[in-house]
């Protein structure tokens, strides 16, 4: 099988992720932060180590400002709902995933309004439109770092600067970029960074995180046992305990740490370069096939390693099925949980076939994908 569905979850993971998770479960699978015995402490240390590695990757000062969650969706819900109050206004974009758009839509019933700034048909955002959308009561700017449909990179550094100037908290959804593109929360003025553990960071599913700036008072989503201030029926006020009630996903977080370690060892620039090369190759190949329409910028340096196409008027789901069934190529078809983005690029009805590249893909994989699409297009 040729796996080109890395935007959904990266596969495979680095060998050390599997190995260390297994080792954690077999050798120090205790509950961290509760008991004080040796393997409980070892589990706690391993979790802290992952916080430190993520700090290095994102230039976060204090490891205690990283909150572990089950996935980026939980991180986004926590940040968005924990920050906003009745009467607040939010600025976001028309390229967002449902993990941003659905919480904001739900909050409308609670008196929180949102402006979805329209992007162009390539998914590009105009900075001026962000500035225009800001109102007196804008309490949050939240946006994706790169579209999960067409990969278009957003100018988050520039938006961060605008947000900082206006004193508005800035939240970034790094679902498609964490682990591949440079993210520096200090330099980019990011106050809330939501990231999945199982995509570019190469950790297992069931992991994710949220960086919360010390300046913000974000209300927790859950209360419960934290292993700290146990005598108190009120949730502890300190991070990360405030946000991490209940037993954490220890082995998962250990695996995430190994994923991040792998990235730091290889060098994020090298990982990006490899994905960029393959994206370039895929785009060049598709451009030469009659009947194939490529969406987005189709410029590897300006996008994440995500390529959306359609073949003639063919149903995207059917095409994706044929790619899997006849060619053994795994892609994803449809709306990719991002209906607003598909409306923006004009594919709300047809959807697209999405090829998403990961670090472990090879030139041969890309060649096979091009060949397959060429054959399918020729037979239509």
């Amino acid at each position: 099988m040729i796996y080109l569905d890395n935007a959904a979850t990266s596969f495979p993971k680095p060998e050390q992720v599997y190995v260390e998770m297994d080792k954690c479960m077999r050798n120090y699978g205790a509950n961290p932060g509760r008991s004080g015995h040796k393997i409980a402490i070892e589990a706690g240390r391993a979790i802290y180590k992952t916080r430190e590695l993520l700090c290095r990757l994102f230039n976060i000062e204090n490891p205690m400002q990283i909150v572990f969650t089950a996935n980026a969706t939980e991180s986004l819900n926590l940040g968005i709902k924990g920050l906003l109050k009745e009467g607040d206004h939010v600025v976001t974009t028309s390229m967002e995933h449902n993990s941003v758009a659905r919480p904001l839509t739900t909050l409308e019933t609670k008196g929180i309004s949102t402006t979805f700034v329209g992007c162009d048909e390539k998914g590009r955002l105009r900075l001026k439109d962000i500035e225009t959308a800001i109102k007196k009561d804008t309490a949050l700017i939240v946006m994706t770092h790169a579209s999960n449909v067409v990969g278009t990179l957003m100018p988050i550094g520039e938006v961060g600067a605008i947000a900082k100037k206006k004193g508005i908290p800035f939240m970034v959804d790094a679902a498609q970029t964490a682990g591949v593109f440079d993210i520096d929360v200090q330099e980019m003025d990011i106050d809330l960074l939501a990231f999945p553990g199982h995509k570019g960071l190469m950790g297992p599913q069931g992991t994710g995180g949220l960086y919360i700036s010390q300046e913000l008072d974000v209300i927790q989503m859950k209360e419960g046992g934290t292993g700290s201030s146990s005598e108190n029926l009120l949730q502890p006020a300190i991070a990360p305990d405030r946000y991490e009630s209940g037993t954490p996903n220890t082995a998962g977080i250990v695996g995430l740490g190994e994923g991040v370690r792998f990235i730091l060892d290889r060098g994020i620039a090298n990982i990006r370069k490899h994905e960029e090369e393959l994206t370039d190759m895929l785009l060049q190949g598709f451009k030469e096939i009659p009947g194939v329409k490529i969406y987005g910028l189709a410029q590897p340096k300006l996008q994440a390693a995500v390529v959306s196409i359609n073949i003639g008027q063919g149903d995207s789901g059917e095409m994706s099925y044929v790619l899997d069934k006849l060619y053994g190529i795994a892609t994803r078809a449809g709306l990719h949980c991002a209906p607003l983005a598909h409306k923006t690029i004009g594919t709300f009805e047809q959807g697209t076939i999405r090829f998403s590249i990961g670090y472990f893909n090879t030139h041969q994989d890309i060649e096979a994908a091009i060949q397959a699409v060429r054959q399918i297009a020729a037979e239509m």
Copy 2:
């Protein structure tokens, strides 16, 4: 090391849990429920299989009524907060863990009041007190199935019957019982069952679940991509999609499925019998040591495999440290995230040393624990 901290998390897990998780991550580590390619479908099927196994264990009719969460704490927060509205009244007990007590305390600020029904110093609940506590606006009865401090089993079947008669939803926290004691949501009139995946169910950390009766309208805690109704900015109304936004913990859920399979294969009665025998042995041993005070009923048939003691006036944390350091015995000391329970049994200041037994403990483990406590007590 002798691990007697199974109430925090069971350790080790059955071999098949490690093996199948590794296999899942290496062979079908795709994102379930999103794409339609082979390994995405295989991942989706594996998750559904775990739902089916849990249905067999808890006598749940429809697998779609089981919602996967990160832990029992999340399940409890989801059920409690998703159900209650301003003006509602809740009945619970004085033996609850902070995972129940803290959400309810937080909800007080939103106009939701709680009656904590007092239990006796052994942790026993009087049914009459539950009946007396019910008011006209009581919208939920929520309680633990067994104390995590002293193990005392609660009469959940009887409380379920009272709740049913009064038309009040009944929620059970099965953190200390799922996988060891019989739980039948239909026979016990349980409307919401919160369970951890990583304790008695023998799955990995990072897993848990909530059974939600089809009769109830529980509001979701998070919105986001569900892989279903992607065109809609409103969260889908159907379970489990409504509650399971974002990528699930696939390998974790697969591991949980193997844990449940192991339990069904061995027979839950056999597992319980083994734990009961060891609990009996531990209690008998402790009873004969001068200076050791045992809390709770000290009757193996009426409690989960959790034994809390103190040795003279010794600090529980210090004793637990000595057990670990000098004897290699892992226990947990302090308040066990259940301050109300410690107030009830009279150990709020001193805490207790908790020995919690699991299926993989042996007679030798228990003998060693008794010997160690005997020596420590003799030297005090």
